[in-house]
Structure formats: C-alpha cells, structure tokens
C-alpha cells in the first residue's frame, strides 16, 4: 500500500508528550490539561481555551526513580508516567485532571499533587470520583462530580469558559473527531482493509494526545486519502484479530502482532477507539454536561463496572466486535500488575473460546516491551493455530 501522507508526521507527534502541536497550542495561550483515563471526559478538557493531553511515556526505558517511589511491583505504565514526570517530560502541563479509577495511575497522579514534580508554579491536580455503576444514582453523582471537580475548577483556576455554549462547541469538535475515527476505523471491517492496525492506532493516539483543533485538519485529510487508498491486491495477512485489554498506547505492539501475520482489525483497550470514539448525543432540552456524564458512563466497558449485567455483558460486547470486524481471533493483553485486566483477561481467555468459539490468545505484557522475541513466538503460534482452525472448518 502507498504510505499515508501524514503517517510520519503522526508518528513524530507520538515521540513526546510535549509534541509540536501541544507546543503550538500553548504558544497560542491555551492551557494543557493532562489526564490518564477514559473516565475523565476529554471533551471537557477541550473547552475553548484549553486542550486535553492523554498522558503517555513514549520511548521509556527503565523507570528507576519511579521504582524507588512506587516499587517494582506496580504497573509499569504508572511508573513510566511518573518517571517521565520526574524527568521533566510533563512540565508543560497546566493541570492534571485525575481520577481514582485504577490504583497505580491514581498513585502516580497523587505523587504529582504531593511532590514538586511539575515545574510549573500554577500546576494543580484535581481528583474526580468516578462511580462503579451505570444506574441513575451514578449518573447524577458523576454529573455533580464533573461540574464541581472539572468545570468549576477550570473556570475558577484557569478562567475557562464553561458555559453550555462552550460545552456544545467542544462536543461538536469532539464529535467530528469521533466521526472521522469511526469512518477510518470502519475500513477495517472490509475483507481487505486499506489501513493497517498499526496505522489506525497511530491515528487514534494522536487524537488523544494532541489539541483537537490542530489535529483535525490532518485527520480530515487522512480520511479523504483513505477513500481512495488502494489496499494490497491480495490480503497480505494470515488472519484478522481483535486486540483487547488494558492500557495500550504502544503502536509498536500492534506492529509486532501484524508482523506475525495477524492484522489487528479492532482495538478494544484503554487507549483504543472501541469504545471511546462514539459521538456524544445531546437530546433536545438536555444539559450538555448531563449528556457528557451519561455518555462516558454508558459507553464504557471498563472491568471496573461491578453490576452483574455489566460484568457478563462485557464478554458479549467483545464477541460482537469480533463478529462485526470479521476477526478470526482475539488477543487479550494486559499489563503486568494490572488487577482489573488480570482477571478480565483470564475470563475472556476461558469464556470467549468456549461460548463464542473465538480463538483467544492471552498475553501479559509490560508497558515497554523488551521481550519481543517471546511475544513474537506467542503470536506466531497463535496465528498458526487460527489458520489450522480455519482449514479444519473449511473441510
């Protein structure tokens, strides 16, 4: 396939949290607001006058200083973020809008608040309490939390306009991003998609880490480009897989899977687009904040949700994605020391093959994947087993 026009540009944007577009937006006087989790609605951080940056620690090495603070028995992602903060990589942040949604990212954000890590005298950390259910009580609670701990704080501390008009504008911009990502992602449902999983992940990640208004023109152009992009004459992969699991902001991990012959056709993980890139619908007469609060609770399939229907429904959701994207198998990857996904992955690996006949590969990985040799062996074996299954079914 012909290279995407902006792919290298996008890749370069992912080399640093403080990338060129972030610098440009800050140069224009906009405030940079960090966050780590889907439960902190990025749309609220993209109000006029500020922009969201979902934190990553690209090109991380060994997080030695963070390991002193958080030991080597915590999620590598949380430690890598903290290491990056200690190195000064997040000094551009004006605030961190935090959530206590998983333990180690919570601890990372608490350290930002407690220690003088971010060299910005006005920097602050504000926590929002996120409910564990999707019932009406949780919706009301979440809305209140977002009002008090996000909107009021942004207004009072940073002078951000948080009026309904401003919210509607942010929703509009956000929805355009979602529409474009959904449009681009939908190509992956084709028998021979004109986009790889790697390319898609790069595009999805830039939408999370760059100011929306600055990335949108590139995204529009890429969406246009894909309309006419010719795929390889023959499907160049041996099978199609869905990549699910915990935090994953590493396109090289997807590249590794694809280099073993499995095209990643869907991304159901913390930094993925499924769920995450659904448009926010504001019903007539509904307050925009109410729509946002409901949207983020309703669309999430995080293993943090506790009700019985939610726990069980997550398996069905995953199976539906596999079916919708015509995948031959599923790779569930969780970061070592991630409590939520350790269990979720174990159950996915047992239930999806048994109840949905979906071949599943269960992988435990680090944030920085040094052991690519071992992973490659696992993926190659999985691809072979999927191929054998397909052959047997063909007979």
């Amino acid at each position: 396939m012909k290279d995407l026009k902006h792919l290298i540009f996008f890749e370069n944007l992912l080399q640093e949290a403080n990338n060129d577009l972030v610098k440009k937006a800050q140069g224009e006087g906009k405030k940079a607001l960090g966050y780590t989790c889907y439960f902190m609605p990025e749309v609220l951080l993209d109000l006029p006058g500020c922009f969201s940056v979902r934190l990553r620690a690209p090109r991380s090495g060994s997080p030695d200083m963070a390991t002193y603070y958080m030991s080597n028995r915590t999620c590598h992602y949380g430690r890598a973020l903290f290491e990056r903060a200690l190195e000064g990589g997040f000094n551009f942040l004006d605030a961190q809008l935090a959530t206590e949604t998983c333990t180690v990212t919570c601890r990372f954000q608490e350290h930002l608040g407690r220690m003088d890590v971010i060299k910005n005298p006005d920097f602050f950390v504000e926590f929002t309490d996120v409910p564990f259910k999707k019932n009406e009580n949780s919706m009301v609670h979440f809305r209140k939390q977002l009002q008090v701990h996000v909107l009021d704080v942004l207004h009072d501390k940073l002078g951000i306009d948080v009026s309904d008009e401003a919210l509607c504008k942010a929703i509009e911009e956000h929805n355009e991003i979602c529409r474009l990502i959904t449009e681009i992602g939908a190509y992956r449902k084709l028998d021979n998609p004109p986009i790889t999983g790697y390319e898609f992940q790069v595009i999805q990640l830039v939408t999370l880490t760059c100011p929306k208004y600055l990335i949108l023109p590139y995204l529009r152009e890429t969406a246009e480009e894909l309309k006419t992009r010719e795929p390889e004459p023959k499907f160049p992969y041996r099978c199609r897989v869905v990549l699910a699991g915990a935090e994953n902001d590493d396109p090289d991990f997807t590249k590794l899977i694809e280099s073993c012959g499995a095209l990643v056709v869907a991304d159901r993980h913390c930094y993925g687009s499924l769920p995450g890139r659904e448009a926010i619908v504001v019903e007539p007469g509904q307050a925009p904040l109410d729509a946002i609060a409901r949207h983020y609770l309703n669309t999430s399939y995080c293993p943090r949700f506790m009700p019985q229907g939610e726990m069980r429904g997550r398996k069905k959701y995953l199976a539906d994605i596999v079916k919708e994207y015509k995948a031959d198998g599923l790779i569930v990857a969780s970061n070592k020391f991630c409590e939520y996904w350790s269990y979720e992955r174990t159950m996915d690996a047992l239930i999806l093959p048994r109840d949905y006949d979906i071949p599943t590969c269960s992988i435990e990985k680090e944030y920085v994947n040094a052991s690519t040799g071992q992973l490659r062996t696992r993926f190659q074996a999985f691809v072979e087993s999927v191929e054998i299954k397909k052959l047997q079914e063909a007979k």
Binding site: Q308, G309, R312, G313, K315, L350, I351, R354, D355
Partner: protein, 76 residues
C-alpha cells in the same frame, strides 16, 4: 438389731465414701490425662501428624465439578 443397723449404716456410709473415692479417683485420672494431653501438646501432635494428613488426603481425592463446565449466562 441396733448393732446390725449400725453396721448397715456404716456400710452404706462406707459405700458412699467408696463411690465418692472412686469418682474422685476417676475424675482425678481424667483431669490428669487431660492435663497431660494439654501439657505435652498431645492434641496438637495428634492433629498435626494424624488427623490433618488424613483429611488432606480425603480432600485431595474428592471429586469436584470441573469449573469450566459452569455456564456463563450473559442475560443475567
């Protein structure tokens, strides 16, 4: 008659005394045994070397349902 009665009386007293003595001896023996069990941790030793290994063997041999046969009803 009086003599006989006296003898009888002393006899029943003796018997009672003897019963009490026996009871006391029995209780003392039980107490002594219990104290020995307590002091030399014989209860612990019995449980550690005999009862627990026996029960563990039993539990290890028990037939259990295969957890993976358990259905997972999505509609709950």
């Amino acid at each position: 008659m009086r003599k006989i009665r006296k003898e009888k009386k002393s006899c029943s007293g003796c018997r009672l005394l003897r019963v009490l003595c026996k009871l006391f001896a029995f209780l003392a023996a039980v107490y002594g045994i219990l104290f020995t069990v307590f002091f030399f941790d014989l209860d612990g030793k019995l449980l550690f070397y005999v009862v627990e290994p026996f029960l563990v063997k039993h539990y290890d041999k028990m037939e259990r349902r295969n957890p993976l046969d358990m259905p997972y009803d999505i509609k709950k």
